[in-house]
Assembly symmetry: C3
Homo-oligomer: 131 residues x 3
């Protein structure tokens, strides 16, 4: 597989995302459902705690990736949906650092939404990965 | 084509979606526009009726799939956008049962949004399919 | 690469999008981050000016595509997120005409959201392209 970061501008790289990710020669594509701060039985955790929700959501992204024999390093798109953009920003570094540790900066869109599926959930991560 | 459901947790399967869908060896990918409850002339139908809108939106997803020689069984991602998450839930079983009848549980993200393109539209379904 | 527009209904073509885009034989896929009206240094521009923001956002989409040796003609999905759907519509023709000039009408979903990442930004364009 060949993968090329496309950055006509560079301001976003330190924020954990490339402007574009071009891939070729990949043989597997993984579409991940949006991951929130649910435990293994589908119960929401950390109500109202953005930092803890973000960390657990990312753990859950990793768990789905692992089920496909992948890691965060295989993400080419990671969208971030939140009910409170301003509350998310102070904690966003956690996401950036875990992506950086994996050597990856997937294409990202962040949107403020009115609700996630489960009340009390504040952030959701939706990925696409290739290998 | 090979397609593998990825479920590090299993709570979502009865809710009509796998946590991940891994595909390989597919030769065609279909990107579908978000489908709402529009008739064949682009007129919105069933204003304010979530159940009817959800059913027609899914009919419209099927029509696009059919145009590409596909069915619901080929969906690997199906995102659900709604202006009223709480109103959608009591009707969500309709979606789940039609997906189940097709033997499929695509990766899904549900988001509450402020507006769809057409006022009065309550739900929108955005799919990606492979064959 | 083979690319086929799927239109069980035709009302959307004049609005700049096909109901579906089926692709096969493509060797490269480009995932683009959501593009807003940022300048080259990541500073938001045109606060409160929807027309100018839409034009610059589309310029930025083109810049990412160009970085991958692509143009608007390679877009197969272009999602449109806005904080004000009603304000966007009068300016939407700009987007439609630039897509038409490129001979393309990608699969599109438009959503009204509460916030984009940067306050004052009104519209965001998220693309996927193949070649």
């Amino acid at each position: 597989m060949e993968r090329t970061a496309i950055n006509p501008v560079t301001w976003s790289v330190d924020m954990g995302f490339h402007q574009g990710e071009m891939v070729s020669g990949h043989t597997r594509t993984l579409y991940l459902s949006g991951q929130t701060a649910m435990d293994g039985d589908g119960r929401p955790r950390h109500e109202g705690d953005m930092a803890a929700q973000l960390a657990l959501s990312l753990d859950n992204v990793e768990a789905v990736l692992a089920g496909a024999g992948m890691t965060l390093a295989h993400l080419v798109r990671l969208n971030v949906y939140t009910t409170d953009v301003d509350l998310l920003f102070p904690h966003y570094g956690v996401l950036v650092s875990r992506l950086a540790a994996a050597g990856v900066a997937p294409a990202t869109t962040m949107l403020g939404v009115t609700r996630l599926a489960v009340p009390g959930q504040l952030v959701e991560l939706e990925g696409t990965a290739v290998a």
